[in-house]
């Protein structure tokens, strides 16, 4: 049975090109359907059409028909579908109406006029289903991202809708938070049979949950819906193991490390490529940058910024205690660690935005910091203007740096767009260009890949490697070990305000419980590109 049906759906935002172009799709009752696609591909619009937010809240030109359990969104407003379909979007901050978790969960029940007894029971059940019963009296503003997002899902689920639509629910969360949210979604689907329509960028955890997947590209369904493995095999943002499986000709491509290990151990496989420490890896064909670390690691230059025994206390809590860190010319340093381990504070201390309570920070060259939220930076009417502003603010004339950074971050085609009209994956790139154009040799990027699609991540990695090889240094604070594996020469792990590991990326990541996927399947390879290069040699 079809839970949500799209029939020839086309949609264009007011004064915009078509965001959806003739979509036909059936979401089966009780399945988890994963929607993937690059930023701006129309997958968000596709999800918003499911409960009528598109076109009822957005305006624009709408063609075709979407039916939700027999009700058409043409004749029903989003609020009239609240009992059959719930909606959760990516911003965990902007979904709470009431300042208490429990009362916010009950919000939809009050609106739909449920009886008090039924409401009470339902709220208790939903709180348990999402594992947030202990947070019931808290103010949502005091919760962590993962807790908040689970609260938002509870709010969407309270009216017992048969379907749940989630637009990148984990893109703003750290891995632990993301995992708790995805686990909750899987449990709802298994226990209650809730139909789930889910859009995601980071697929390592989400893909194994999906019954089917589809790829959206330029407003049309490019591939699928079909079993997740084959659907994702050609998708650039697929999990590393899936791309590894495709490279090695495994069929069907694996979605999890477990599957990949099993496939790798199968008898009769061709011998695995062997790893050669000294040989340089192939340049990345797309960016021309060197895909891995060996050449850059061979020549770390002089120290550009050094922190010695840095201690920082914020609101009576010691955030950093005795941190030593040197950043050298030619390095790309990945700064790893869970939320609250002090990554952001360390970057801000290195950038001189935060005074240290003890110890010293000695910059030998200019240090620039790109904040976590790119939106706090963007104000100009066009991307080009945004980047050029920084040069002007520094009182310099543009010596070609503006054009160079716009190209380096792949913003050439977007240069005359309004920064706010860009997608979540494009905005951080604009912010990075706007800061980097100032010419500081040391670039500190705070969670740059948050909410980014594969293509944007790829461009960013190329730009970071390029900056390092041109004699700069980059420090990336990130949760993403795959990103660290692909572009870092060195990895530093922070925990509880202390450096617990510091060394070459391969060594640090190799000894980790959270090692990148390829390393867990084919050690000591870190990335699919390395395996590819090794296969070409042999």
């Amino acid at each position: 049975m079809s839970a949500i049906g799209y029939r020839g759906v086309s949609y264009g935002y007011p004064d915009g090109p078509l965001a959806l172009d003739g979509v036909d799709l059936d979401v089966h009752a009780g399945e988890i359907l994963l929607v993937v696609g690059s930023s701006g591909s129309g997958k968000s619009t596709l999800l918003r059409a499911a409960n009528g937010i598109v076109p009822h809240s957005t305006g624009g030109r709408f063609g075709g028909d979407v039916t939700v359990f027999g009700r058409s969104t043409r004749t029903h407003l989003p609020r009239e579908l609240a009992d059959v379909i719930g909606f959760v979007h990516q911003d965990p901050e902007a979904q709470f109406v009431v300042d208490r978790v429990e009362a916010d969960v009950a919000f939809v029940l009050e609106n739909l006029g449920h009886a008090p007894d039924a409401m009470r029971r339902r709220v208790e059940e939903v709180l348990d289903a999402l594992g947030i019963a202990h947070l019931r009296d808290r103010n949502p503003a005091t919760l962590s991202g993962g807790e908040r997002q689970r609260g938002a899902i509870a709010g969407a689920l309270a009216a017992a809708p048969s379907a749940l639509v989630l637009d990148e629910p984990t893109s703003q969360l750290d891995p632990q938070g993301a995992e708790s949210v995805l686990a909750a979604i899987a449990r709802l689907n298994a226990d209650l049979g809730t139909t789930v329509l889910l859009a995601e960028h980071r697929l390592e955890r989400a893909a194994p949950l999906a019954d089917r997947a589809l790829v959206v590209d330029r407003g049309t369904v490019r591939y699928g819906p079909t079993a997740a493995g084959p659907a994702l095999a050609d998708y650039p943002g697929a999990p590393s193991v899936t791309r590894l499986g495709r490279l090695l000709g495994w069929d069907p491509p694996p979605l999890t490390v477990r599957d990949a290990r099993r496939l790798a151990a199968e008898p009769g496989r061709a011998p695995m490529p062997t790893f050669a420490e000294s040989e340089p890896s192939a340049p990345n064909p797309a960016t021309g940058a060197l895909a891995t670390n060996e050449p850059a690691r061979a020549a770390p230059g002089e120290v550009l910024v050094a922190a010695r025994q840095v201690e920082v206390t914020l609101a009576r809590t010691t955030v950093l205690r005795g941190v030593d860190l040197e950043v050298r010319r030619g390095e790309v340093v990945a700064l790893l660690g869970r939320n609250g381990s002090g990554k952001t504070t360390l970057l801000r201390a290195l950038a001189g935005l935060r005074t240290v309570d003890r110890g010293t920070v000695r910059p030998k060259a200019a240090v620039a910091y790109v904040p976590q939220d790119p939106n706090s930076l963007l104000f100009a009417p066009t991307v080009r203007e945004e980047v050029a502003q920084t040069v002007r603010l520094l009182g310099r004339t543009d010596d070609g740096a503006v054009a160079a950074w716009i190209d380096a971050l792949g913003l050439h085609d977007l240069a005359s767009r309004h920064p706010r009209s860009l997608s979540g994956g494009e905005r951080p790139r604009v912010a990075i260009a706007a800061v980097a154009v100032g010419g500081a040799p040391v670039l500190l990027l705070d969670e740059p890949t948050r909410g980014m699609d594969a293509a944007s991540r790829h461009v960013l990695e190329g730009a970071a490697a390029g900056h390092a090889t041109r004699g700069g240094a980059v420090v990336l604070a990130t949760h993403d070990v795959e990103l660290a594996a692909r572009c870092a020469t060195r990895a530093v792990v922070l925990a509880d305000g202390e450096v617990v590991a510091d060394g070459p990326a391969r060594t640090v990541l190799g000894g980790s419980l959270f090692a990148p996927q390829v390393l867990r399947v084919l050690p000591p390879f870190l990335t699919v590109d390395e395996v590819d290069a090794a296969m070409e040699r042999s």
């Binding site: 379909i85 909606f87 901050e93 935005l353 706090s376 920084t390």
Partner: protein, 375 residues
């Protein structure tokens, strides 16, 4: 460890409202700085004991700060524009504003009596803001909305949602100004800085508002169509507005009987509209908490404070109001201080006693210290 069942329930928002009104009345009845300071101290204690974690906790210091700013401006204006020639401190150069703008004198003599008197009246503003800030920090706005007449439900809900934007906006302004510094590598460029920080804050607020409205829409806000009684209530409300407006015009025109009649009709229509609209909304509320015995007691005890001050005033207690001329220290009357004691009533039942919190802070401090030794 305490089990959750032992945690006393927080006071009802209705009881908090009465407490806040009583405290505000006390500031008005006993504006002498000594007693205002006492009320502020009580408000601070109440916030420390009752405010839950979350952005509203900061309402108290924020509104207190705002009160201080108002008071300061008031003192400045009074010092520059009011002159009585008594107790002159020093003399500033003076100019007279053109007649079009009022023709008063700016600057000139600055007198101790004027400055101190305006300081005292400014301090009552600080006291009022402290009470208002304490109320915002301790009472649940949503509970207030839930227990108010149904007719005000949607309006009240929208107000609480709007209130929630205040701390978020302050935070995003903070981030924006820091991002602006980060952009230039720490170099502060003042030119155009307002625009560079204001635009991100406004756009972020806009995006947040849209996301929230979509979330409310998807969760069935306003799903029930307007009932017939709703429309009737709407017309009644419009009628009430017209009648009250007419009464106001009549009052200015000194047509007292007409004003009284129109005022009466307007008030009646307003009551009818509220009653009708409240009856039309039959949707049950989730776990609606009613005022319990203890809440009524708190409300009743709080009201004792202004009543007692009123009695003091009738009895001729002359320390209630302080005047700067002739110059003298404000006097203190223990009886008046005792009259303020009922405002401490909320402390009789505290969710997390202060002493418990202090031990917790000490524990954290010890842990940090020992951590430092190990490192």
């Amino acid at each position: 460890m305490r089990t959750p069942t032992e945690t006393p329930r927080p006071w009802h928002s209705g009881a908090w409202s009465v407490w806040a009104l009583a405290a505000a009345a006390c500031v008005q009845l006993a504006p002498s700085p000594v007693y205002v300071a006492l009320v502020i101290a009580v408000a601070w204690l109440v916030v420390e004991a009752h405010a839950a974690d979350g952005p509203y906790r900061h309402a108290f210091p924020a509104l207190l700060g705002l009160g201080v700013a108002f008071a300061f401006i008031r003192v400045l204006i009074a010092a520059l524009t009011t002159h009585n020639g008594l107790e002159v401190w020093f003399t500033l150069p003076q100019t007279t504003v053109p007649d079009v703008l009022g023709g008063f004198t700016l600057g000139g003599t600055v007198e101790a009596t004027v400055v101190l008197q305006s300081l005292a009246s400014g301090f009552t503003i600080v006291g009022m803001m402290a009470v208002f800030g304490a109320f915002n920090a301790v009472a649940s706005h949503y509970e207030l909305v839930q227990s108010s007449p149904r007719a005000f439900h949607e309006l009240g809900l929208i107000t609480t949602v709007a209130l929630a934007f205040v701390p978020a906006t302050i935070e995003s302004a903070h981030t924006a100004s820091e991002s602006d510094r980060a952009r230039t590598g720490g170099l502060v460029v003042r030119r155009g800085r307002l625009l560079r920080t204001l635009v991100p804050v406004l756009e972020r607020g806009m995006e947040r508002a849209i996301a929230l409205s979509e979330s409310m829409d998807a969760r069935g806000f306003g799903a029930t169509p307007a009932a017939r009684t709703d429309r009737v209530a709407g017309w009644f409300g419009l009628g009430a507005l017209l009648a009250l407006g007419g009464a106001f015009v009549a009052l200015i025109g000194r047509a007292s009987p007409t004003a009284a009649a129109l005022g009466f009709v307007g008030a009646a229509l307003l009551v009818a509209a509220v009653a009708l609209a409240s009856r039309a909304d039959r949707r049950p509320r989730y776990r609606l908490r009613r005022m319990e015995g203890a809440d009524w007691v708190l409300a009743a005890v709080s009201v004792l404070a202004p009543l007692a001050l009123g009695l003091c005033s009738v009895a001729g207690a002359d320390s209630l109001v302080w005047r700067a001329s002739p110059l003298a220290w404000p006097s203190f009357d223990p009886l008046v201080a005792l009259a303020l004691a009922p405002l401490l009533a909320p402390l009789l039942r505290v969710p997390d006693p202060l002493w418990r919190r202090r031990t917790a802070i000490v524990a954290v401090f010890r842990r940090q210290n020992s951590g430092g030794v190990v490192a």
